[in-house]
Symmetry: C2
Subunit: 134 residues, 2 copies
DNA sequence: TCACGTATATGTAGAATACATATAGATGTT
DNA sequence: AACATCTATATGTATTCTACATATACGTGA
């Protein structure tokens, strides 16, 4: 992820040591959000994730399908097979009321997380502005 | 984490389904940052984390000490025992040049992640503003 | 001596993730 | 007809990460 940044080379760090480039746990709220825009199915949701998420991190089909199944097991979404149209059958998902609730919780959680990251970045840039001035 | 938010009750979601309340992987950049402010040791760093991090998530000593050992193994920090002063000996850590590099990489990474979260939140609030208007 | 705060460390079960792989319908190509 | 490719869903599993429990030991005050 940081091959192009120059920093990795400069400091002789071989590979990406920052796992936050990956979409850790982030697929769940994304799927819930996409479904809040209208019913959809795994393959299509995966394409949406690809556009939405982190630049170079491609969504893992296994993650997507398993997360959808988990969400259904817990009652956050419901699915039924869609055999209309061409190609292999699609499992079409829709949000439940409970699923909307979970999405709202995620949004709260993500807002909080964003604030923590902002706090970090603020202190970080202050710190290194100060050092450069010396 | 969301017991107090009311939403969990409203939507009948029993426990916290949003793991982003925890300081997942976030200890590493925090430790690096704290050490960039000056040498320190595990116990003290843990207290700083406690003030810095997510509201109700207390830092896990195991995470802190193990992360510090990992960082040392990889050459991002160096340590030596400090037997001066009272109480049990402290293992005092200092950042290396490589460690500063890693901190900068983390900062880049966190900036990117922040942007992704912002993108999510923006689309989310637009979506639900629109729905309420209907 | 006993509790408590300081300080570091390890063991391990369980959760989460990455990566590989399997299956199968439809379409286009040689 | 055979083959590749795109669409679509699904499972197996090794590895990594995390949470929680627990151990050790120094110093201070009751």
């Amino acid at each position: 992820m940081f091959e192009g940044s120059g920093l990795a080379k400069k400091y002789k760090i071989k590979k990406c040591e920052c796992p936050s480039g990956k979409m850790t746990r982030f697929v769940e709220p994304c799927l819930l959000f996409f479904l809040s825009q209208g019913d959809s199915y795994g393959y299509e949701l995966m394409a949406k994730l690809d556009n939405f998420g982190f630049p170079k991190a491609k969504p893992d089909p296994a993650m997507v399908y398993r997360t959808l199944r988990y969400l259904e097991k817990e009652g956050f979404v419901v699915s039924k097979w869609d055999t209309k149209g061409t190609g292999p059958a699609k499992r079409n998902y829709g949000l439940t009321q409970k699923g909307i609730g979970l999405l709202h919780l995620w949004a709260e959680s993500i807002e909080m997380r964003k604030q923590v990251l902002e706090k970090f970045l603020k202190q970080y840039s202050q710190q290194f502005k100060r050092i450069r001035k010396k």
